[in-house]
């Protein structure tokens, strides 16, 4: 059952990713990206990381991608017919090979050390409570730094948007 679900979500993620890259219509490509994120959320659930899966759906699929779609629809991006420049294609294939190698390594990592998670001594691994406790004790500093970074980004976005209104007047 678990293997079957893994194949459904795994194959789904790869298929949606391929469709996203090859699709010429921006809205369809964005929808495929949402499909990828949905499948990734499914994979997180299989890894027992329910909270991460829910957050993946809320933040990425639910909020970020809606804004993507919003912008695409507002700008009314036309579908562009065009050929990829050859040198870009070379760079892309090199990047693809590197990413593929990294991915293969990551996939093979658990095989070499099956007791990876069990050895960490966390019985309630992946639950909201466990993650919350970790965030506010062991990883408090990185957590706070990330919050400050996000706050800075929000303030920056507000200032950027505000300046444009002032210029227009």
């Amino acid at each position: 059952m678990e293997l079957l679900m893994f194949f459904i979500f795994g194959v789904g993620a790869v298929a949606f990713a391929l469709l996203m890259v090859t699709n010429k219509k921006p809205v369809n490509a964005a929808m495929c990206l949402i499909g990828v994120m949905f499948c990734l959320a499914g994979l997180y659930v299989l890894l027992n990381a329910h909270l991460i899966a829910a957050l993946q759906l809320i933040v990425y699929a639910g909020a970020v991608m809606v804004l993507f779609l919003f912008v695409i629809m507002l700008l009314n991006v036309e579908e562009k017919e065009g050929r990829l420049a050859v040198n870009i294609l070379v760079v892309q294939s090199v990047a693809a090979v590197v990413v593929g190698l990294v991915f293969l390594t990551v996939v093979n990592l658990p095989k070499t050390d099956a007791s990876f998670f069990a050895g960490m001594g966390i019985p309630d691994f992946g639950t909201t409570k466990a993650i919350g406790k970790m965030l506010f004790t062991e990883y408090l500093l990185p957590f706070e730094i990330a919050s400050i970074l996000l706050l800075a980004a929000i303030v920056g976005a507000v200032i950027l948007a505000k300046r444009r209104i002032d210029d227009a007047e």
């Binding site: 809205v27 369809n28 929808m31 949402i34 949905f38 959320a41 329910h50 909270l51 899966a53 829910a54 957050l55 759906l57 809320i58 699929a61 639910g62 909020a63 991608m65 809606v66 804004l67 779609l69 919003f70 629809m73 507002l74 639950t127 909201t128």
Partner: protein, 357 residues
């Protein structure tokens, strides 16, 4: 293992029957009757079988027949695939979010542990937010794929509105989570056995804010900007007909049920009758033997829960026919400048009280 399967299938079938088989068709009739009552009209009472109208209850059936017979029209310039997918994308989240809402307590039945909720997830309420967030796509895509300017404006309004109210709604329930210390809706429900522990008494501000956000998230009047008939024809579903149109309509009604279920679970004691605990129910029904008592207690739980749900459905219908539509900037101002700061204040006060308590 086998008993678990039977239990899950039974629960899923039950919720499917209640939501899709009962609430979805009946609520259309309720909405018409409610509007007729409030506007001093007689209302839906024309459909009859052999002269009997039973206060218009044949209307859901005749509506269904009419709708299935109609032409399924796709505009010439529309994106066929997305135009067809959009109603499904907005209906499916409305159906599956009810999975985490508990409709009864936990009992022992023939030595098998029965938990009256389809999926008792650790992330609980976050699951609801995750899937109600996906419902936005149905509306946005419907607006865009129709190649109609009214639809597009409706879709854009919907995306901004639903996104904003989702943020505020997430913050309004944080107070509830802090008070009960859990995300699981079953645990939140179980903790409201005593009347004085009901969410509405512990989180009165949270209740008002959550309910407002939920109605706005469902895009019903006074928040029906995305479909505003007087401005946008019918908004994002202008170009829909036949069963696809009904799918939007069913999605809206099922969301009403889900909202009512969530409000009941979070703020109004879930499946509990005030001052009557689950164990008291079982001992009250002890004459029926241990299994019979469990079954009867379950039935009482389920009835109590759905009576409360019906009350909140009625409340939403009344709001729908009482208040006039807001202006778009008012809707946005209400969200970002009033509900959001108020819910932050609510979190602060809850935190201070918990710290001292």
């Amino acid at each position: 293992m086998f008993a678990d399967m039977i239990e899950s299938v039974a629960k899923i079938l039950f919720i499917f029957t209640v939501n899709l088989g009962f609430f979805a068709p009946i609520l259309g009739w309720v909405e018409r009757k409610q509007s007729a009552l409030m506007q001093d009209r007689i209302g839906a009472n024309r459909a009859d079988v052999g002269g009997f109208t039973i206060i218009g209850l044949f209307h859901p059936i005749s509506d269904a027949i009419k709708v299935i017979m109609k032409e399924d029209f796709i505009p010439a310039g529309a994106e066929k695939l997305l135009h067809t997918l959009a109603p499904a994308i907005s209906l499916i989240p409305a159906i599956i979010t009810f999975a985490v809402v508990p409709f009864g307590g936990q009992y022992e039945l023939f030595g098998h542990h029965v938990n009256l909720v389809i999926a008792d997830l650790d992330v609980g309420i976050l699951y609801v937010f995750a899937f109600s967030g996906l419902a936005t796509y149905g509306v946005v895509l419907a607006g865009w794929a129709s190649r109609n300017n009214w639809s597009l404006i409706g879709g854009l309004r919907a995306s901004a509105q639903m996104l904003s109210y989702e943020v505020a709604m997430g913050l309004t329930v944080i107070g509830v989570m802090m008070v009960y210390g859990t995300l699981k809706l079953t645990e939140i429900g179980a903790m409201q056995e005593s009347l004085f522990h009901w969410g509405v008494f512990l989180q009165p501000l949270g209740f008002i804010l959550f309910f407002t956000c939920a109605v706005a998230e469902n895009k019903r009047a006074p928040f029906d900007m995305p479909e505003a008939e007087s401005e946008l024809v019918a908004g994002y579903f202008t170009e829909y007909s036949s069963f696809k149109f009904v799918m939007f309509w069913m999605g809206e009604f099922l969301e009403i049920v889900t909202i009512a279920g969530l409000v009941t679970t979070l703020f109004f004691g879930a499946w509990h009758i005030p001052f009557v605990s689950d164990s008291a129910l079982v001992s009250f029904f002890h004459f029926a033997g241990p299994n019979g008592a469990a079954v009867l207690a379950m039935l009482v739980n389920i009835t109590t829960f759905f009576v409360k749900v019906c009350f909140f459905i009625w409340l939403q219908m009344t709001i729908r026919w009482t208040l006039p539509r807001f202006r778009y900037d008012q809707v946005m101002k209400l969200c970002w400048k009033m509900i959001l700061p108020l819910s932050l204040v609510n979190i602060l006060i809850t935190g201070l009280v918990l710290l001292n308590g």
